[in-house]
């Protein structure tokens, strides 16, 4: 019995990982769905599915080994934080595939078995493409607005994120940009 209980205690280790698995699986399935969920919608829905799984596992654990509510809340707290952090990683992993320049260059090199010169890379992927794609994405998400051929700030979320990133750069690197 004691051994069973000790195995059960590892539920808190497995719980966030299982939540992440449910998150990723449901996100991919929603993305592939014929109705065509957007990337952000699918990521959000996947996160909710995983979160429900995490809470259900913790409640099931509490039912199997009753203890104080404070103990349950403590365990739930760490499981949700770990799950949230893993989901943040997953979100960025998906986002890297979507937006990272390094990943795109890797893909171009992968598609060219004989390798690529700098000129050939720039013919396939260059600053103009990068700016065009980003402007389109920022307009689509309402983060910038186009009026009379000029771009203006949209919702402030991305600006706040940007400011937070600049603060992190100053704290860690002591400069505002990689080119300072």
């Amino acid at each position: 019995m004691a051994e069973d209980l000790s195995i059960l205690h590892f539920a808190h280790v497995i719980c966030p990982l299982l939540g992440l698995l449910i998150n990723a699986t449901s996100q991919v399935l929603l993305c592939r769905h014929e109705r065509g969920f957007g990337l952000l919608e699918s990521i959000f829905a996947g996160f909710i599915c995983g979160l429900i799984m995490v809470i259900l596992i913790e409640v099931a654990y509490y039912c199997a080994i009753p203890s104080s509510i404070a103990h349950l809340l403590g365990l739930l707290c760490i499981c949700i934080i770990t799950y949230g952090t893993l989901s943040y990683c997953y979100f960025h992993f998906v986002n890297l595939g979507e937006t990272a320049r390094r990943v795109r260059i890797l893909r171009e090199l992968y598609d060219s078995k004989d390798g690529l010169s700098m000129e050939e890379i720039l013919n396939r992927y260059n600053a103009n493409d990068i700016i065009e794609k980003r402007i389109r994405r920022l307009l689509f998400n309402g983060q910038i607005i186009l009026k009379d051929g000029r771009y203006f700030p949209g919702n402030s979320t991305v600006l706040l994120m940007n400011k937070a990133m600049v603060i992190m750069k100053i704290v860690v690197l002591g400069k505002r940009s990689e080119f300072d």
């Binding site: 893909r107 600053a127 700016i131 860690v172 990689e178």
Partner: protein, 173 residues
């Protein structure tokens, strides 16, 4: 609660060491050094907590006591490492989207045209440094004037290709 507290404390200490180190001298292979610091703190910290469990008590909280709690602490700490490593890639390199938003925000009410946005953001700023990163991280190599993937780069390319195909998405970028 002790897992949450001691896990966060260890990560906080590792973060402080990382910042101090970076401000004194920026390592050439930043990601590698950062991983050594963070995983080093996890291993050494867990060992110290385990060895001196009876003597340590901060805010009335004793360190984790059994293997299941240490496993939980490791899971929590590794999830923090992964999250920070991913965030660090945005700290290390300027994101074009964030640069665009900053430029537009700085222009305020007058706004910016597409041509104005492109100023200072050419291939030498947006593409060439990222190719250099691939060489530094040994994901690509130069042979006879051409860039080729290394085994490490090939694994990364395959991973992202597999995932993008799974989501029926394009090449991205």
């Amino acid at each position: 609660m002790s897992v949450l507290f001691y896990g966060s404390l260890l990560f906080g200490l590792a973060f402080v060491l990382h910042v101090v180190w970076w401000r004194i001298r920026l390592p050439k292979r930043q990601i590698k050094v950062l991983l050594i610091i963070l995983f080093g703190f996890l291993c050494v910290g867990s060992f110290i907590l385990h060895q001196y469990a009876l003597k340590i008590s901060i805010l009335g909280l004793h360190p984790p006591s059994d293997i299941s709690e240490y496993s939980q602490l490791a899971t929590y700490f590794i999830s923090l490492i992964l999250a920070y490593m991913i965030t660090y890639s945005a700290i290390e390199a300027d994101s074009p989207s964030l640069l665009i938003v900053m430029k537009i925000s700085d222009a305020r009410k007058s706004g910016l045209t597409k041509e104005m946005l492109g100023v200072d953001m050419d291939d030498s700023v947006l593409v060439e440094p990222r190719i250099k990163d691939l060489l530094t991280d040994k994901m690509a190599e130069m042979r006879e004037g051409k860039y080729h993937l290394t085994t490490k780069g090939l694994m990364m390319a395959l991973l992202f290709k597999f995932y993008r195909d799974l989501m029926r998405a394009d090449k991205g970028g």
